[in-house]
Amino acid sequence: MTMHAMSAIEPTSPPPGVLAIRADNWRLAIVAGLALSIFAALTLPASVSFWVVGVAAAMIAAAFVVNAYRRRYYGGLLVAPAIAVLFVMNIFPLLWSLGLSFFAYQSNQQSIRFVGLNNYIKVLTNEIAAPGNWSALVNTALFVVLTVSAQMMVGFLLAMLFAKQFPLRKYLLILVLTPMMLSVVASGVFFTYYYDPTFGILSYVMNAITGGQFILMDSKAGAVAGIVFADAWMWSPFVMLLVLAGLVSVPKYLYEAAAIDRVSAWRRFWSITFPYIRGLLMLALLFRTIEAFKLADLVILLTKGGNDTMTISYHLIRIANEQNKTSEGAAISYVMLFMVIVLTNLYLYLANRRNQES
């Protein structure tokens, strides 16, 4: 790990070597702290290892602050509180489970032993365990593609509707924003009602039209459509809000200039409007993709994974929580993390390339 703080003001003294034992040598503190933490988390009982990790974190933090203060590395000082909270609440638990993924451990049993990469090999290739993982991954990919593109499209179209100023805009906008404020439990449970073949509105309407018995959720296509519709309905407003913010930030005189220059609507969109919303679209895409990978609650509520709608995140809940196969779950989650990282990096790479081209 290399990290070198820069500042507008030159450092007042040279930074210490990595191995120098000084109060401001945060590099050594991080290395030592991490090593100590991982060691403690894996070997000592939880109640002891927590304190070891706490001490390590405090040591790193102290070294960090002393160093930053001495050299006026304001960047480090500013970032430190957030990193500290993230480290304790998020990064440490993540490292803990990363560590566990190399052990055979079930949380409801008291034994633990090191197995190296066996968990990963198991979740990816084992005759019994792997097919479930792979099909859940394929389904997840399907959901990510469908729900994210649906959200991006619907969100974009809604934003276009609201781009202009018109009477009552404010009141209509809040109506469209409301779905994302609902709790997933409530909206998911109500979608089971909307889709219910006996009581639901959808079947009532469809039956009245076709005269038959309409059952949305009895096929994979229907079940996927039902889940994607509910998810996209809830989260398109998120995309819309970001896109709308981009749209309203386009200066009006650019559109006037385009009118004077007799620019076609198509060209106007791509050369003027799109550059203003591209960054926001990317942010929306990034966060919605990450969330779509975690899609589980709606699946649990609407299909319980039936009709081949099992997602990796729900699968993970079953493995890690219901069946207590903690380390196997950790391995699956890190495989999943790897995929999300690859995908998001691909987005960012493409976005940056586009930036540099234009």
Binding site: P93, K164, Q165, S183, A245, Y349
Partner: protein
């Protein structure tokens, strides 16, 4: 598309619209779309004021009013406020008196926990975003990406170590614990959003202030922060919406005294020895929607003006 700005708008004599005015025709069209989009929510709200027995009626009852005979009688129900009362107090065991459900406490918990954690995340996140933006570390983008990865895994992965940690330090079931956890949960988004805002600001004014001898603290508070108020509002709303409805951590890390509404809401999903109590669930959700709806409504202007940044940089 968008021409029509006039000098009067620029002078503020006429209210500047941001983009051009469209007329009532457009309003009618958007109203129709918005209404359709809002229908599932409207149905939940209507379910909240339905008599319990009509929740699953076939055909579904759709409206508390016949709109002067426009809606056929079979789709109309007589509204009641009884369900809202049931949220706070209802009969729990057959034949006994109504008991308090504790929902007043759960609502209070939700408000306290969500507000505190979003504000904390905003403070830490804004500081960090300012740091990342103005004093970039070597490998800045890598750090930002690592921060983003904390949002990439399902909560279930980190739950076990977090419970363990909370028990060890006695944070289990306390406000502080869940607030800190939510703070971390919100930090990634806050940092990414706020950094984008800071990146968009011109640094000229800050540099001028520095040359005039303003301290770094003063530059941050007096120059930078006022310019991103809109961004803070936008981030606040997004963070609030996400935290408000968080379920898994709340389930596992709150006790009976600190339980939040999304967890308690499941009482109505499997209610009193049966399946979903539709009207009760709808009433809880409707009440639960109000605070975040109001906050969003009043910060709406900021949401639109606020989120205006250029590109996502890695």
């Amino acid at each position: 598309m968008a021409y029509g700005i006039s000098i009067w708008e620029r002078l503020g004599i006429r209210k500047s619209s941001g983009v051009s005015e469209a007329g009532w025709g457009h309003t009618a069209f958007v109203a129709l779309i918005s209404f359709i989009y809002f229908l599932p929510v409207l149905f939940i709200i209507f379910t909240a004021i339905k008599p319990q027995g009509l929740a699953l009626s076939v055909p579904p009852t759709l409206s508390p009013t016949s709109l002067l005979g426009l809606i056929p009688e079979q789709f109309v129900f007589t509204p009641t406020l009884e369900n809202f009362g049931s949220v706070f107090s209802r009969v729990m065991t057959a034949g006994s008196q109504p008991e308090a459900t504790g929902f007043d406490r759960f609502f209070l918990n939700s408000i306290v926990i969500a507000t505190a954690s979003v504000v904390l995340a905003l403070i830490f996140g804004t500081l960090a975003a300012y740091g990342f933006s103005r004093y970039p570390l070597k490998g800045n983008d890598t750090y930002l990406f690592i921060i983003l990865t904390t949002r990439m895994l399902p909560a279930i992965v980190v739950v076990i170590p977090v419970i363990l940690m909370f028990r060890t330090v006695g944070l289990s079931g306390s406000y502080l614990g869940i607030i800190l956890l939510y703070t971390a949960f919100n930090l990634a988004f806050t940092i990414w959003m706020m950094k984008s805002f800071f990146d968009e600001l011109s640094t000229d004014v800050e540099d001028a202030a520095r040359i005039d001898g303003s301290s770094e603290v003063k530059v941050f508070f007096k120059i930078c922060l006022p310019q991103v108020v809109a961004g803070l509002a936008a981030t606040f709303v997004f963070g609030l919406i996400l935290t408000w409805n968080e379920f898994l951590f709340a389930l596992l890390l709150t006790g009976p005294d600190t339980r939040t509404v999304p967890v308690a809401m499941n009482q109505a999903v499997s209610s009193g020895g049966r399946g979903t109590d539709w009207t009760l669930l709808a009433a809880i959700e409707t009440l639960f929607l109000i605070p975040v709806f109001l906050v969003t409504f009043f910060l709406q202007e900021h949401l639109l003006r606020g989120v205006t940044f250029g590109t996502v940089k890695k």
